[in-house]
Symmetry: C2
């Protein structure tokens, strides 16, 4: 099956720790890379994980807080220093533009590539971007500033050819792409072999939903329904649920509740507060509500399947 992985570059929260980096993930689909959030030192972790910077064309920013954007100036100017010529596209709330303007205006003069900013309306669930492999949809979140998550939905793949049918019917190889694309086959005697008999269906499209930062938000449930993998922030343990509410963050059980109600396949949690002393206990709290939950950590590669 074609690759669809999530690389964790940082899963800490706003106050830095020696244990976790600021927020950053890289989604890898069919060899292309898409970054989500870009906290300080993202470019360093990116290099440590030996990801290929030339495969990165799009960065999606959830909101304009420092721990989600302070890696952008370094990321952008390093691409320039490395002689990049391909365009870079940055998607995010309008307010992000200011940091980009200073970065490009002051630190990136003479660079040979273009950076395009695409403002995202964080209040709406809509298609933000698509290419041949994926669609990216915004997911409105509840935070102290305009904020949205992103849903990466793989485009339907082509069905598999039934090799034994092709051989038996002596269908020329030149027709295989047409058949994959939906064509039937007409025999010399006029008999029509329907497409369905020549192929087996493709695997159902996979999807990854990234939701950080947000207060508990039941409105998310229909938007991430049935996702293959859901990342939901879980900044605080249950005992600090007052604090979660005050700062518009979630507890581990609130994250798990969204996962359970949306019937996702798997949940991963992160954006850990420094107040979490025992991440194992944090995980167990979530698993009480939704069993198939894992913790994120830097360097981790989570397969979306």
């Amino acid at each position: 099956m074609e690759s669809f992985n999530v690389h964790i570059l940082g899963c800490g929260s706003a106050k830095p720790s020696t244990r976790h980096n600021a927020a950053c993930q890289v989604v890898e689909i069919r060899g292309k890379l898409y970054m989500i959030d870009c906290g300080e030192a993202a470019q360093i972790e990116f290099a440590c994980q030996k990801l290929n910077i030339n495969r990165l064309g799009h960065i999606f920013i959830s909101h304009n807080h420092g721990d989600h954007v302070f890696g952008l100036p370094g990321m952008i100017s390093t691409m320039g220093l490395l002689g990049r010529t391909a365009e870079l596209h940055i998607h995010g709330p309008e307010k992000v533009r200011e940091l980009l303007d200073v970065t490009l205006g002051t630190y990136c003069q003479g660079m040979e590539y273009e950076v395009h900013f695409h403002p995202v309306d964080t209040t709406r669930h809509q298609l933000v971007f698509e290419d041949r492999s994926i669609e990216v949809w915004s997911l409105p979140l509840t935070h102290r500033v305009p904020c949205c998550g992103y849903l990466f939905r793989e485009k339907p793949r082509l069905p598999h050819i039934r090799r034994e049918m092709i051989d038996a019917l002596q269908i020329p190889l030149s027709q295989i792409n047409n058949i994959k694309a939906g064509a039937s086959w007409t025999m010399d005697d006029g008999t029509v072999i329907p497409h369905e008999n020549l192929t087996t269906p493709a695997e159902p499209p996979r999807s990854y939903a990234y939701c950080s930062d947000t207060a508990y938000r039941p409105e998310l449930v229909p938007l991430v329904k049935g996702a293959t993998l859901l990342y939901h922030e879980a900044t605080y343990p249950e005992e600090l649920s007052d604090r979660a509410q005050e700062y518009c963050h979630s507890t581990s059980q609130q994250a798990a509740k969204v996962a359970r109600e949306a019937e996702v396949k798997r949940l991963c949690i992160g954006h850990y507060s420094l107040r979490i002393k025992d991440e194992g206990a944090h995980l167990r709290e979530a698993q009480e509500v939704f069993q198939n939950t894992i913790l994120t950590h830097e360097g981790q590669i989570i397969r979306v399947e």
Copy 2:
């Protein structure tokens, strides 16, 4: 002797590597911390080295290139998140103000402490700052944008009391501070014991000169004459001296030449280009010109003595 140390937080150059961080050092004098340059991830390395953020009151920026300033937004906003109330002072070329304005205007609202920016005229050698322990002087450098180094010069220390004289002459302890400060002592019979007989001289003041980034610049020699420790960038090996000249950087032998002619006690080098494959060879090139040379590396604490 009272502490005077240089902590190396980053000694790489503009293109990031997995081996070195972007430029950042912390000078520690008598318990107080002064940061020089603030490349990306400075706050992370600062925490890893267990330096006390409350002891940091001043940051000195050499020039407005990304690898020397991209750590400022994170550093400043983290101080706010940690509830800092003491003022923070940032010294550097006028152009740094722009990044500070975005940082403070957008990412630090509601912070309880004040950040003051003090523009530095990089074309002049002058006193930039002083407190009870030190003077900091600017050192004009030759780079592609306005750039200066900084000379940290310890203020003269008080002489040491000769305990045996105090005891023999039965001088009251209450007088010791006066004597340290320069007073003589008059006996009951009117005999004056001169200050010099009651004390031994303090150690000569120590100094640390930080020079990054710069082309070879002989005009530095008189300004750093006799420094206890000189940091001089050595971006390129000798074989890339053309490149050094083109980008206004120095080779290891040029750094060593400044050290030799200024008769400093010790030289440390850094700001390593990714093109340096063998740092040992890089060091040996410098040592051919000035023997007492060391390489810098992250986590290192260099004593100024």
